[in-house]
C-alpha cells in the first residue's frame, strides 16, 4: 500500500505515510486516507517518499483545508533532501510545520 494511515490510540492524531513517488497517481488514495475522519492533528510522514510534484503540493493544500485551513495542525515529517527542496521552493514551510 503506497499510502498508509494510522490513528493514534487516543484518536487525536492521524498519521499518513506516503511511499514512492508522491504525485497525481496517489490522488484518490491520499484523499481517502483522511476525508472520512475528523482531524485534530495530522502528520504526513514522507520517510519513504522519493519524489513530490506540484499536484502533491495541491493534495497537501486540500488536506490542510480539510483539517481546518489556517487553524489546522498539519506536520510534514521525515522528508528527504529532494522533497525538502521542492517544499522550500514553494515556501510551503509558511503553511506547514516541516521537519
Amino acid at each position: 500500500m503506497p499510502v498508509v494511515t494510522e490513528v493514534s490510540p487516543d484518536g487525536q492524531k492521524l498519521t499518513i505515510s506516503v511511499k514512492g513517488r508522491f504525485d497525481f497517481a496517489k490522488h484518490q488514495e491520499f484523499r481517502q486516507s483522511y476525508e472520512d475522519k475528523k482531524l485534530s492533528a495530522v502528520v504526513v510522514d514522507l520517510k519513504d517518499a522519493t519524489y513530490l510534484d506540484s499536484s502533491a503540493l495541491g493534495m497537501l493544500l486540500l488536506l490542510r483545508d480539510h483539517a481546518g485551513g489556517d487553524d489546522s495542525d498539519v506536520r510534514v515529517v521525515n522528508s528527504n533532501t529532494d522533497v525538502r527542496k521542492i517544499l522550500a521552493i514553494s515556501n510551503f514551510d509558511k503553511l506547514f510545520d516541516i521537519s
Binding site: 506540484s54 495541491g58 493544500l61 486540500l62 489556517d70 515556501n91
Partner: protein, 568 residues
C-alpha cells in the same frame, strides 16, 4: 453470454459431398452459407461478399487452402475473419502450417457437429472482441484529434490575450517556450507601464491540460489591465492572488515570478512565489545573483495574509535577468535522475556568448538524455538605455472634446493610506482626462512617480538616498523602506494638481509636499544634471522631463510644470 447471432460462413471444400454435408449442418445451426470449390473461388467469394468466418479445406485444386488463407487474411486487413482449416492431415507439421499461414484453428475430418458448433462460437467471440478493440481504438484516435484541434484553437485565442503585451515587440526580451507549454500551465506575460517600465511575469499553474490553461486567462487580464493603468508590482500581485484564490479550487495554484524592470532607474524589482531561482546576470563581473522564491505561490493565501514584499536590485546597461520554469531543471534523464540546478549552473559557467545561452541550455538538456518536455519556458530580459525602448502609444477611446481645462484638486495621503495604497494610477487617470497631456503621459507618469516616491521615501520615511550608492546598500535601502513603511504611524504626502488654460494651450502644475525633514536643496541642485549614479536619479529625471522644477520649504515641497499647445 450473448446468444450466437447468425453468421455468414464461407465453406471452401473441393469435395461436393463434404461441401453439402457441412452446408446443411451450418444451415441447421442458423447460419448463412456461401460455398467455393477451390482456393481461387474462395478468395473471389470473400472479396465479393465478406463472410464473417471461413471453413477452409487445406488440399484443393487450382489454389490450395494455405494460399487462399494468406490472401483472405491480407484482404481482411485489421478485421478479424477467423479461418478454421478442415483437414484430414494428421502430422503435426502440416497442422502447424495451417496456423502459420494465418489460420486460427483446425478441425479434423470426419466432422463432429458439436465440436464444430463450439469452435464457431469461440471464433465468433474472438471476432467480436477484435471488432470492439478496433472501434475503441478509432474512437480514441478521433477524440485525440479532436482534443489537439481544440488545443490549437484555444491556443490561438490565448495567444491573442497573452501576447497582447510587448513579448514579441520589445527588443530586450528573448524567450523560448515549448509550443504547447500553455497546456502544461506555463504562462509568460510582458507589458510596459505608463512610465515606460516593463513588467514581466513567468507563471506555472499546478496540473496539466485544460484546468491549468483556464486559470491563465484571468491572470493575464489582471496583469495587462493593472500594468497599463500604472499599478506597481505589489498592487498587481495582491489583486492576482485574490482573484486566483477566489476562482481556483484549493489544490490549484500558480507559481510565479514577477519583475518590474526600470530603464530610467536602472533597477529590477522582483517577487518570486514558488518558481525556481531566477538569475540576475551582471555582464561586467559575470556574476549571477540568484532570485530565489521568497513567497508561497499565487492563489494559496487569503488576501489578508498575502505577502507582496519585493526585492530591488540595481542593474547596469546590458545586465540580464533570466527566468525559467521547473520543466528545465526537472527534465528527467536516465535512472529517473533530474537535470537539476547544478547542471544548469555548469551551463552558466561554460557560457561565453550570452546570446547563445538558450541554445546551450537546450543542448545540455538533450545531452542529458532527458525526454523533451512540453513545459520548458525560459525568458531573458536585458536592461537597455531608455532611448532604445519605445513603449507603444496608448490608445484612447474618447474624442477628447469634453476634456476639463480649468480646475485644481488637492489630496492628502496619511500614514495608514501610505502603507498600502498607491495613488499614482488614480492621479494619472485623472490627468489623462486632459487631452493635451496625453502625448506626454510617459514623462508625466515618471515625474509623478519620482515626486511621490521622493516625498514618501526621503520625506515621510526619512531614508537617505546615498545608501543606494552601491549594490548592497541598494538592497538594504529597499529592505529599510519596507520595514519603516510597515511601522509608519504618522506623516503625510500632499499632492496638488492645477490645470489652467493658456493663450495657446494649457499648463499643469504639480506640487508635492511631505511631512519629512526636507533636504539641502542647493547642494543637490549643484550636481550635474545627467550624472549616472544609482542614488539621486529621481531629481535629475524630474528636472529633465518637467518644466521649471523647484524645491522650496527646505525641500519639503516640490513643484513642476507641464505645458501643452492647443490641438489643431
Amino acid at each position: 453470454m450473448q446468444p450466437l447471432e447468425p453468421l455468414t460462413i464461407l465453406i471452401a471444400e473441393d469435395s461436393a459431398a463434404d461441401r453439402l454435408l457441412l452446408a446443411s449442418i451450418l444451415r441447421r445451426q442458423g447460419h448463412q452459407v456461401l460455398t467455393a470449390a477451390n482456393g481461387a473461388e474462395a478468395v473471389d467469394a470473400f472479396r465479393e461478399q465478406q463472410p464473417h468466418l471461413v471453413l477452409m479445406d487445406a488440399m484443393m485444386p487450382v489454389m490450395d487452402g494455405f494460399e487462399a488463407a494468406r490472401q483472405i487474411k491480407a484482404l481482411a486487413g485489421e478485421t478479424l475473419v477467423p479461418i478454421i482449416f478442415l483437414t484430414s492431415l494428421s502430422e503435426s507439421e502440416a497442422l502447424a502450417r495451417c496456423l502459420e499461414v494465418g489460420g486460427d484453428d483446425f478441425l479434423a475430418k470426419p466432422y463432429n457437429q458439436v465440436i464444430l458448433a463450439a469452435k464457431i462460437k469461440a471464433m465468433d467471440r474472438l471476432r467480436r472482441l477484435q471488432d470492439t478493440v478496433l472501434q475503441q481504438r478509432d474512437q480514441i484516435a478521433r477524440h485525440h484529434d479532436y482534443l489537439l484541434n481544440e488545443q490549437r484553437v484555444a491556443k490561438a485565442v490565448f495567444d491573442k490575450v497573452a501576447h497582447a503585451g510587448c513579448l514579441n515587440a520589445a527588443p530586450n526580451i528573448r524567450y523560448l517556450q515549448s509550443p504547447y507549454a500553455l497546456f502544461n500551465g506555463d504562462l509568460l506575460l510582458a507589458a510596459f507601464t505608463p512610465a515606460g517600465d516593463m513588467h514581466v511575469l513567468l507563471g506555472d499553474f499546478t496540473g496539466h491540460g485544460l484546468p491549468a490553461a483556464v486559470g491563465a486567462m484571468p491572470l493575464a487580464e489582471v496583469f495587462y489591465g493593472m500594468t497599463a493603468k500604472g499599478y506597481g508590482l505589489a498592487e498587481t500581485l495582491r489583486e492576482m492572488n485574490a482573484k486566483l484564490k477566489r476562482i481556483l479550487p484549493v489544490d490549484m495554484f500558480c507559481c510565479a515570478t514577477m519583475l518590474c524592470l526600470s530603464f530610467q532607474r536602472r533597477s529590477v524589482e522582483v517577487w518570486n512565489g514558488g518558481m525556481p531561482d531566477g538569475y540576475l546576470h551582471r555582464i561586467a563581473s559575470g556574476e549571477r545573483t540568484p532570485l530565489p522564491a521568497r513567497h508561497l505561490p499565487l492563489g494559496v493565501l487569503s488576501p489578508e495574509s498575502f505577502d507582496e514584499r519585493t526585492e530591488v536590485f540595481p542593474m547596469a546597461r546590458g545586465d540580464r535577468v533570466f527566468l525559467l520554469s521547473d520543466g528545465v531543471i526537472d527534465t528527467c534523464g536516465a535512472n529517473e535522475q533530474l537535470f537539476g540546478v547544478q547542471r544548469l549552473q555548469q551551463v552558466f559557467a561554460a557560457n561565453r556568448q550570452p546570446d547563445a545561452l538558450f541554445e546551450e541550455i537546450e543542448q545540455a538538456l538533450r545531452d542529458f538524455g532527458g525526454e523533451a518536455r512540453d513545459d520548458v519556458s525560459m525568458v531573458e530580459i536585458s536592461l537597455l538605455e531608455p532611448e532604445q525602448i519605445t513603449p507603444p502609444a496608448l490608445v484612447y477611446s474618447d474624442s477628447g472634446q469634453s476634456c476639463p481645462l480649468d480646475w485644481s484638486v488637492s489630496f492628502e495621503f496619511r500614514a495608514a493610506t501610505l502603507k498600502r495604497f498607491n495613488p499614482l494610477p488614480y492621479l494619472l487617470q485623472l490627468l489623462l482626462e486632459v487631452h493635451g497631456l496625453r502625448a506626454q503621459s510617459g514623462a508625466l507618469y515618471s515625474v509623478l512617480a519620482e515626486l511621490y516616491s521622493n516625498a514618501l521615501e526621503h520625506g515621510v520615511l526619512g531614508l537617505d538616498s546615498s545608501l543606494k550608492r552601491n549594490a548592497s546598500g541598494f538592497a538594504r535601502y529597499y529592505q529599510e523602506r519596507n520595514a519603516r513603511l510597515g511601522e509608519l504611524k504618522e506623516g503625510y504626502v500632499r499632492v496638488h494638481l492645477q490645470v489652467a488654460p493658456t493663450d495657446d494651450g494649457g499648463c499643469l502644475t504639480i506640487q508635492v509636499e511631505d511631512s519629512g525633514e526636507g533636504f539641502d536643496v542647493e547642494r543637490v541642485m549643484e550636481r550635474p544634471l545627467d550624472a549616472i549614479r544609482l542614488s539621486g536619479r529621481g531629481i535629475s529625471l524630474i528636472r529633465q522631463l518637467g518644466r521649471n522644477a523647484r524645491w522650496t520649504d527646505n525641500g519639503r515641497s516640490a513643484r513642476v510644470e507641464f505645458i501643452w499647445e492647443a490641438l489643431a
